[in-house]
Assembly symmetry: C2
Homo-oligomer: 213 residues x 2
DNA sequence: CCTCTTTTGTGATTTTTTTAACAATAACCG
DNA sequence: CGGTTATTGTTAAAAAAATCACAAAAGAGG
């Protein structure tokens, strides 16, 4: 009886959280020219136990080979595929303020296949301005732009008070996922994915741990 | 037999992760003038079950009152105390680039008692420049500055290749906690607390969830 | 081609986290 | 001021996650 490769089996959130880390370290190993690696060794590098690593990977397939280990390049590509970064995806960003501009200026994520396609704001002083090759558009164009340009991820970097409204517009226009930097828990239908970067929460957690020590 | 208020009892990481969220929603309730709230109601707002909320809070004390619920202001202040944001703390930031400047310009965290005391870079073009009231200092002054100015948190917003080196300097100078934005897992002694903002990992997780859907 | 070693994939076990249940306690009301 | 209701704090049960342990598979070396 062969193992079901049934997608319907729920992948635990704890596993999903670790995937990008595995990917990052595999990229490093690949750049160092490493060819193969055992779950033991990779686990030590990443900071998880070997059985956990193996169990995590086996949610998605059998990428290893007994008596050999894992081929670094193959595993790297497999994880990239699992995370959906093999085919490029297009994003829009709304809120060209402090954080928004930082993201637009660095575009760190383009090397991983996430392209910033357009950026939006309400501020007339910003609209029309060019930032790192992208001209700031008026947010009234947002809905049409998303619908017409195969955009699947929206980045929200507006003040908390406008975040939900911007999210609503994105969703109406057919966005699939939202990368949210506003300190707000967006209300979204279940088929819309949200990932929050609540930076202030991170600082408070740090404060707690410092105090506790 | 009274309950031990022993600090040595380990607070689960899962609980620590939720504390800032409780604090944020309590702040909203406080601003709305809400006086009391039950675990049931607060749980619904925050998105956790009522028993979990009660159990979480009871790691730190008995803040509620049977038959009444929780006093919003009291609970808010208690949580602030638990997280160590009653007394202000001083931070330094190293790496005045895209992300660094965004943080310096907004200084969102000052209203929660985290003061940015000085900012550092290696780039001669930046050193001496004033950004939102702070003059960029040369990073060679970092160690002395931390040691002499009661700094307990360091913010790292330098490229990945320099992050560990910057962390080492901070630690040598006596920092207690590091808020790290570089895509690197810093090697630190156990008495140094680290909180990572690995933004790219968030985007990859989002990508996974979008693809899975 | 056979033996020995390595290392995976996975079922069983343990630990951690979450949820449920309820007795104890305090507010509220007549 | 006593009964009723609301709601906590806490113990017990269930669920989820991590770890352990080992049989099965593949490579390495003679
Ligand atoms: N900057 C930080 O250090 C920091 C830290 C933690 C959290 N955040 C959060 O990130 C978000 C952005 O912060 P920031 O410092 O970049 O703010 P900002 O004020 O610099 O930028 C916000 C931008 O959004 C635009 N905007 C406002 N309403 C809009 C709307 N409805 N549609 C389109 N654009 C709109 C504004 O014109 C502005 O350009 C905030 O929610 C903030 O709480 C920021
Ligand atoms: N900007 C983004 O959108 C983004 C997204 C995800 C992650 N990050 C991470 O955040 C970090 C900073 O990104 P950024 O875009 O702000 O980079 P940046 O290049 O704009 O800024 C880095 C700054 O650090 C300074 N620096 C370099 N080495 C230093 C040293 N040893 N001591 C002191 N200063 C030093 C540089 O002079 C520069 O000013 C990087 O690690 C990046 O990977 C950034």
């Amino acid at each position: 009886m062969t193992k079901e490769t049934d997608e319907s089996i729920m992948v635990p959130a704890a596993v999903i959280k670790r995937l990008p880390k595995y990917h990052r370290y595999l990229e490093e190993l690949l750049n160092e020219g490493r060819e193969k690696i055992s779950s033991q060794q990779l686990g030590e590098i990443v900071g998880v136990s070997a059985p956990q690593l193996r169990q995590d990977l086996n949610y998605f397939g059998n990428f290893g080979q007994q008596g050999y280990g894992y081929n670094v390049k193959k595993l790297y590509n497999s994880l990239a595929e699992v995370m959906g970064i093999q085919q490029k995806s297009n994003m829009v960003l709304v809120g060209v303020g402090n954080i928004g501009q930082a993201l637009v200026n660095s575009r760190d994520f383009e090397k991983r296949g996430f392209y910033l396609s357009a950026i939006f704001d309400t501020n007339p002083k910003l609209i029309g301005l060019e930032i790192n090759g992208l001209v700031v558009k008026d947010v009234v164009e947002l809905k049409d732009y998303i619908a017409e340009n195969d955009i699947n991820i929206g980045v929200i970097t507006v003040p908390a008070s406008s975040a939900q409204e911007v999210a609503n517009q994105m969703i109406k226009a057919g966005i699939k996922g939202i990368w949210n930097f506003s300190p707000v828990d967006l209300k979204t239908p279940p088929n819309i994915q949200v990932e929050n970067e609540h930076l202030t929460e991170g600082l408070l957690r740090l404060s707690f741990k410092v105090k506790e020590e």
